[in-house]
């Protein structure tokens, strides 16, 4: 990756080191083997989700993207809930179904095309309106769009992205540390099995 902050660092290279145990390898393999097509969402919802994720976490074109939509679809298929939720929002599956349908309906109402067909500036404008709580299409079904944006959409997209080894390598994150953790704990020190930063970056 050009201009990478941690050049040459690939968290997956730790696979056969003491940093990973069998359980770690199994979990990561599962995550990397997710199918790239919807298994819970329908085709329209999937396209909307892919378009939304691309606006929230734009990805560089020179590497395979983190399959955010596939990861969220898997979470929905397994109905893996967080264990907590804002009571004003419906449960996981219902919130996503309704939210994606509503964003698509908003786009169709304004531009007469589905969400994934409008250009990125228009998508941004719609998402900003959702974040600001300014969308009121009947498709929202009483669900507050601002809440959905902050507590469902952002949460799931960002956690999916940063739950993927590609993102770990990008930000120099050590990834799983079991059984081996870290020894050199002081500021500005690193263990040999940690990512090497290219050069000090300002700010």
């Amino acid at each position: 990756m050009s201009g990478a902050r941690y050049p040459g660092y690939d968290v997956l290279a730790k696979r056969h080191t003491p940093s990973w145990n069998e359980k770690t390898r199994r979990v990561i393999d599962q995550r990397l083997a997710l199918p790239r097509e919807p298994r819970f969402l329908d085709a329209a919802e999937w396209q909307t989700l892919e378009a939304v994720a691309a606006r929230v976490v734009p990805q560089p074109p020179d590497r395979p993207p983190v399959p955010i939509a596939a990861m969220i679809d898997d979470k929905l298929k397994e109905d893996r809930r967080d264990g907590y939720r804002d009571a004003r929002l419906p449960p996981l599956r219902e919130a996503w179904r309704r939210g994606l349908a509503a964003l698509d309906a908003e786009a169709r109402q304004r531009f007469r095309v589905p969400f994934h067909s409008i250009d990125s500036a228009e998508q941004d404008a719609l998402l900003e309106a959702a974040q600001g709580g300014r969308l009121a299409h009947p498709a929202w079904g009483g669900m507050r769009c601002g809440l959905f944006f902050a507590k469902r959409l952002l949460l799931d997209i960002v956690t999916a992205y940063y739950g993927h080894p590609t993102a770990w390598s990008e930000i120099g994150f050590g990834g799983p540390a079991s059984p081996r953790g870290y020894v050199r704990m002081e500021f500005d020190r690193r263990d040999p099995w940690e990512a090497v930063e290219d050069k000090p970056h300002a700010g």
Partner: protein, 309 residues
Amino acid sequence: MMRRLPLLAIAGMVGLGAFAAARMRRPQRIARRPQPRAKRFGPVALSATVARDVDRSAALLALLALADSGLEHYRGSFHNRVMYVPLGVAATTMVACLRDAASGSRRTQRSAAVPGLAITTGIVGTGFHIYNIAKRPGGISWLNLFYAAPLGAPAALSLAGLLDGTARLLRRDRHAFAGAPLARLLAGIVAAGLVGSSAEAGLLHFRGAYHNPAMVIPVIVPPAAAFLLARAAMCRRGRHAPARWMLLSLAAIGLAGTGFHAYGVQRNMGGWRNLSQNLLNGPPLPAPPAFTALAIAGLAALRLIETGA
């Protein structure tokens, strides 16, 4: 099976310690005997055998300092170039002491440079470690005493140097240094070393919350041995069985301690297979045998005291 291994290791080390200690006692037993062997083991021959044991003790201490500083300074990524120095000095001291111990000759041509270097490095190293503790946020605090550079560690190199210096004097048939009898001087060095090492073990075992009852042993036995040795040095001639037994036990305890520490490494997540973390993060393997090294020197001092040499 894995759970039994450490116990086997401990048992093996205790046996080894007892064997080594039994071997060490032999010349002393002979020296106490009257004619005709006394001719072969007169005061001169005695100081040569004692010097050999003191050299061995110094060599072991230097080896431990080499292993400990190597491991811990590697952990510190040799952040400061000076951190290489104790490795070189400890290796030099160890080789010099081993050569002296092996040569068997009473006199050494070697200058005082090596022991002087070791003593100085230990003192300067202590200064560096105090600086390392003090510069951290919180300065001199329990947290930094626990986790920053260990305060007492560099002193092991000074101890090795002091013992090496004493062995040199013994080989030259000197019986006093600066007005003090060598036997008392040696006993004093050993007693001080034991109290210091014990304090270090006490601090770090306190950090470990004494989770294993055996962790109190190196806090209790070394000061007791130091006390008995110091008392023997004040009384001079005659047998000092309690001091001898305490020092013999201490020699075994030092070796057993490494077994315990090896078990401690195994108890960490991933055990020995995760040694790139656990060897650094677990209890230090080279620490406990310092008691064995000091016990060897203490027994040598006791032999000098008992024969009135």
